[in-house]
């Protein structure tokens, strides 16, 4: 038996994820996190912050909240239920930073916590900044 025909067999034997159920949950939880974000933004705007500061306030609040939930071991439970619904919002980014920090502290402050804090955030920052530089070059040379 070659690996192509085995691959076929494997595909048939492997159950798919329950896509509809997963999507409904992701929609509900992801949407809810955004509504909380909107409430935070409105709160900040009412408080007299300008639009940019209100956006920053919203992100930072969500990030710290998600970080706390991660430390308490609750975010992984939300994630199990919500899937992408709690991965895609900025809270998912925060979770991806806090989870290795908590997990790898035992391996030391420098090469444990310090380096592994970036195992998922590192690539996000790298490729985000890389893309922004490319966007910037296009904007600088051609866009304006």
């Amino acid at each position: 038996m070659n690996s192509e025909s085995y691959d076929e067999m494997v595909k048939k034997a492997s159950p798919d994820s329950p896509l509809l159920k997963d999507c409904i949950r992701a929609f509900a939880v992801g949407g809810l996190i955004c509504v909380i974000g909107q409430m935070l933004t409105n709160f900040a705007l009412n408080y007299g912050l300008d639009e940019k500061s209100a956006a920053t306030f919203t992100s930072v609040t969500l990030i710290v909240a998600a970080s706390l939930l991660t430390g308490m071991g609750l975010y992984s439970k939300i994630g199990k239920f919500a899937g992408a619904g709690s991965v895609v919002p900025i809270t998912g980014f925060s979770n991806s930073v806090t989870s290795p920090a908590v997990e790898f502290k035992k391996e030391g402050y420098i090469l444990g916590l310090g380096s592994k804090i970036f195992i998922i955030a590192g690539p996000v920052i790298l490729y985000g900044v890389l893309t922004s530089v490319i966007v910037g070059m296009v904007y600088y040379f051609a866009g304006r």
């Binding site: 494997v10 997963d22 994630g79 989870s99 790898f104």
Partner: protein
Amino acid sequence: MAKLTGAETVVFSKPVSITATASTVGTKEGDGPLGKLFDRVLTDNMAGEETWEAAESAIVKDDLSILFEKSGVRPDFIIGGDLQNQCCGTNYGVKDIKIPTFGIFDACASFGEALALAAIMIDSGAAENVAAEVSSHFCSAERQFRFPLELGNQRPQTSTYTVTGAGAAMVSSADRPPYITAFTAGKITDYGVNDANNMGAAMAPAAAECISSHLRDTVRDAAYYDLIVTGDLGYVGKELLLQLLKKEGIDIADNHIDCGIEIFDKASQDTHSGGSGCACSAAVFAAMLYKRLRNGELKRILFVPTGALMSPTSIQEGKNILGTAYAVAVENEVIKWNI
């Protein structure tokens, strides 16, 4: 004396007994369908230690002391393995016991390898008693092979759940059933599976090849065995195993069970394809299969721990996941082999 039969099978005509077994498992396994059968169920998977890795070693140490107590002997050697880097789970667990130890690695098939090597040592007269012992821990495995535990991600339906615990067996020259009568050593298989969330698919071909070699080498029918028990194929792997064997004209649908399916309740424990890890097959053997052999409910079984061979590096580098398996025949009487 042990004798090589066919291409890959070693048979024993002298009694090679398993005189006792011991099993220790984590909380989730304790809540599972076999919960009452284990010798010890942890109340805290950290086992009073500071790290998951240390917890696994503490489980190893505890489980071996249960084994020594139940068998009433201190073995001449320990053969042990686990999933942690460089066998640390085993080494830190046995360091205070001061018994010469062979550290082995065959991923989740390690218990099969340990039983096979122990049987050879007993048969050859190199030892009177050898402890075969393996362990795994959900948290140390998850951390090493996948993601931090607190990361909020979903596990795919094909994924298996690493069993927290240890299983051990005392292999002995004492003449008392059940006996290890033969084993078939696995060949490493590569069927092009590279999905680390589908270990059952990576291991099923190895189990199929090993079982079919065993039956061919020993000139036995699949129906000869009361049960053919694979280690941790899970639901996906079981399905594939049955299909692969059927293609070779071997039907084990009626007498096949998989330890990974037995140890958890899929519906209530959300374990997807089933349990996995070294301790999966070992703890189920120690807690359930051995007892059923002892009380005569089972007379002969073919115990086939299965292993998915890879490392975090090999996965990152995009290499395929390899499979292996050991088929160990455990029977209530000594067989006078003449094949």
